[in-house]
């Protein structure tokens, strides 16, 4: 009698690799061949995983077409199957997979579109948290204020792309050929700050300085450090992040190691 562990490993071979022979010896012979029975499971699992990717990467699918997407998804599923039953978490590796997929080479911005859609998806499904009311900072004693650090809202994502993939995604999902034609693919890097606000996910484009500020802010830089790095702009930039709801809380950095 096969051990349950062996049988379950065999089913993984059936589902992921279509290796029906991994399980066929465990099934009785009858009028319907084991391959026909096992194919039902393989096809269902593949359809569920592909649909999960399709829901997260709709612009990628629109760019390559349904059949190409299904082909790429089948290969991706075999290479990087999900490790959790929460399929909303499945797909983090798809952008890099697409970047190395030979058949996708004619669309050099495809992986960036996938990176943008993954960030959008993460922002949309991140844990809920209240945003910090800026007035709460007034409770911090003046001498402690330089040591304030800010806790990002769980939905905040920073994204730097080599191509204007966000514009491509917007245009292709809107079916707007004129907007698509107007995109300058050589326009240089795009720097985006994404978060989920009251009305949904927002992706705000910013310049190099504002992006560097956001990076430092959400990496836990102190208020003093932020002001030192951008003396003229720090107040405005910080106020913008607070007003947008991108900050969930604050903490005071302890001066450990000092007398």
């Amino acid at each position: 009698m096969p051990k349950l562990r062996d049988l379950q490993a065999g089913f993984a071979e059936v589902v992921l690799a279509g290796r029906f022979d991994a399980l066929a010896p465990y099934l009785p012979a009858d009028a319907i061949p084991p391959e026909d029975r096992l194919a039902i499971y393989r096809n269902t699992a593949r359809a569920v995983m592909t649909e999960a990717l399709r829901l997260t990467f709709p612009a990628v699918e629109r760019l390559v077409g349904r059949d190409f997407f299904a082909m790429a998804a089948a290969r991706f599923v075999r290479q990087a199957p999900p490790d959790t039953a929460d399929l909303a978490e499945y797909g983090v590796a798809l952008p890099d997979f697409l970047a190395h997929l030979p058949e996708a080479a004619p669309i050099p911005y495809l992986a960036d579109v996938a990176r943008f859609e993954w960030a959008l998806h993460q922002a949309a499904t991140a844990e809920d948290a209240p945003s910090l009311d800026a007035d709460a900072l007034g409770a911090v004693a003046a001498e402690d204020q330089p040591m304030i650090t800010f806790i990002p809202h769980p939905s905040v994502r920073l994204l730097e792309l080599a191509t204007p993939a966000d514009a491509v995604a917007d245009a292709v999902l809107a079916g707007d050929d004129r907007a698509m034609a107007a995109i300058d693919l050589a326009a240089g890097p795009r720097r985006l700050v994404l978060h989920r606000g009251a009305t949904g996910v927002c992706a705000e484009q910013c310049d190099a300085d504002a992006f560097a500020f956001a990076r430092a802010l959400f990496a836990g830089a102190t208020l003093a450090g932020l002001v030192d790095a951008a003396p003229a702009a720090a107040g405005t930039l910080l106020a913008g992040h607070l007003a947008s709801g991108r900050i969930a809380g604050y903490a005071l950095q302890t001066q450990t190691g000092e007398p």
Binding site: Y26, P34, I40, P81, D86, A126, A129
Partner: protein, 290 residues
Amino acid sequence: MRQETSRAQAPIPAVAGIGLRFPHHRAVREDRPAIGWLEVHPENYLGGGAAIACLEAVRRDYPVSLHGVGLSLGSVDGLDPRHLDRLAALVSRIEPGLVSEHVSFSTAGGTYLADLLPLPMTEEALETVCRNVEVMQTRLRRQVLVENPSSYVRYVASTIPEWEFMAAVATRTGCGILCDVNNICVSAANHGFDAYHYLAALPAAAVGELHVAGHALRELGGGRQIRIDDHGSAVSAEVWALLAAAVARFGRRPTLVEWDNAIPALDVLLAEAAQADTILSRERDHAQAA
């Protein structure tokens, strides 16, 4: 001071409910159709954002049942502790009337295989399921229901009839049974057993919920057929008849209409639920007459 709750009462009434799926979120939230209760897959609500916000909104008006599809109660590797923790957090947040899972496995070696895969009906599998059900019930601090599977394969190694396997899980762990009559119909046709015998063999007191759904008939050539549990069509006359037999055997139970593929307009789903309610009412009339 006692905190007033603005939620519908938690217990799931012994009437028809529907599976709430994304295409109907807005309609259910805004129109509040007359339906006894709603059931959702917790795997669709483990994160934050719009989905859980909708579930919390409808929870104010309806009792809700959480019907898991990803915990993999039959997995020899045990339960994924992170998944179980996230499920526990959702249970705390939603306060569902029922929590259920499937007698099947869906993970192997840390990989999620995205389907409810059939277990061999062996003592090893029975011990595995019972061990995992106990872990689930301990973590959630409540009784759960486990659903009988539909399947397309049997194993040479199987030694226990499925109905005995289900009854044993309930007896050994104290869990309840979610009796999916569509699954019984599908598996009975695929494997050649008597669906009514299956119903007769289940312990009535353990059955806490019933499911109905549509299934497909696939022709394989040469006169061979297999039934596919695709939840993609209306409930068949055969399954309605089996539901009537289940209600006669177990009494009135919360009864869910599931429809997961080619999801129709909400009105179509509500009409199916009304059909289930008619069958449940007939049993009430019988009981009163007796």
